[in-house]
């Protein structure tokens, strides 16, 4: 086939790149906010959550895309749910077996990946109508768009809320008021409302730089 698209054609790269910025699932489509607020008190769970969502979304997209011509239309949502649920349970079991402490921290939120609107949204909007490879890229792109927001929020919250990054203390102990310094951790940062405000700040910065996103 001479008209075959190259694997990384411009169109395919757009699938990967757009969700990072101009069609970001969190800051533009405002999907998946619940988990973004809940797991981002520290960097490590944010990263693990992002990777878990990436694994689930990329594979679910590919599987649904492969099955797209066989799925009976009337039960397509249920088929999508079964595929997502099965993948999420696999991810949960693997986390429990190999990174137990993180899986305890994420607790119910791994299970709640099933209800993450980003995933069903991509399956319904993209995977059902496209070939596996573009669907895979779309999944990776959207999960990365979700992930980088989580990681930025997690980094900010852990740094200002606990004075550490990835569990390592960054703020010198001598800065703290109880040791005679001038600094105190902002306990607010640990609480979910500050995650929403941090996401809000990211949206603000993004819209002021990308005028296309501003609605009339």
């Amino acid at each position: 086939m001479s008209d075959r698209e190259p694997l990384f054609s411009k169109k395919n790269l757009k699938l990967l790149g757009d969700p990072l910025n101009s069609s970001n699932p969190i800051t533009v489509q405002v999907l998946g906010i619940c988990s973004a607020l809940a797991v981002t008190a520290q960097l490590k769970p944010s990263v693990v959550m992002s990777l878990s969502v990436m694994a689930v979304l990329a594979f679910a997209n590919v599987i649904i895309s492969l099955l797209r011509n066989t799925i009976p239309n009337r039960i397509r949502i249920i088929v999508q749910l079964v595929v997502i649920a099965a993948l999420v349970i696999l991810v949960d079991q693997v986390l429990k077996a190999f990174v137990y402490d993180v899986s305890k921290q994420l607790s119910v939120f791994v299970g709640l990946i099933i209800t993450n609107c980003i995933i069903m949204g991509r399956l319904e909007a993209f995977a059902l109508g496209n070939k596996p490879w573009p669907a895979f890229l779309d999944g990776l792109g959207n999960a990365a768009g979700y992930g980088w927001i989580l990681i930025v929020v997690g980094l900010a919250r852990e740094l200002f809320g606990s004075g550490s990054v990835w569990g390592y203390k960054i703020i010198p102990a001598s800065w703290y008021i109880e040791n005679g310094g001038f600094y105190a951790n902002n306990g607010m940062m640990i609480l979910p409302p500050m995650a929403l405000i941090t996401v809000g700040v990211i949206i603000w910065v993004q819209r002021s730089r990308n005028r296309k996103l501003i609605e009339d």
Partner: protein
Amino acid sequence: MDRNSNVYTFIYASGMVILVAAILSLAAINLKPFQDKNIEIEKKQNILASVNIEADATNAEEIYAERIVNTYVVNSKGEEVQGNAFTIDLKKERAKPVEEQLLPVFECQIDGNVKYIFPLRGAGLWGPIWGYVSLEDDMSTIYGASFDHQGETPGLGAEIATSNFQDQFKGKEIYDSGKLVSIIVAKSNETAPAEHRVDGISGGTITSKGLEKMLLDDLNAYNAFLNQKK
């Protein structure tokens, strides 16, 4: 075959469910040993935490093997009975009448002294709470305590799992002139002698009281054993 026919839909749905079930059972069976290992390591970490030894997942087993020199099971009369202290399911034991309960005891060697560790299990506000308390060899002074919970409110009841709360227990006495009084987890307006009380958690009263009841009930079950050892 018509993709929108009922027959196709039924066959498709059944096939999919069977396939997914097979994949998931396979994964669950194969990953079970790893998961059980993690739970065992966590239990060892918790036991060690009650004697103020911090262990992480990589060295918990080693430290446990070195420090926990003896484990055995007693009954409410203080007699030693058959059983494996580590694998006893406290949830099942607590459902039995106290005379039939199997009560695990762990002995830990620290600086040449023996500390006795007792597991605890009770109810918080939203679900079970549990923990370990260790006593000096006078069987009255608390050497350390660690608590954990399933779903207490973060920032309120969940504070029982923090070292701020647990450190208060160190050095407290559970006996008052021969009588088991356990530890009162108190509001500031409650009066109890300082050696028998710790400060409760503001906003976590039901969890605090649940913890107090857990300590009293479970230490009571060990009362005969504790008196024997004194």
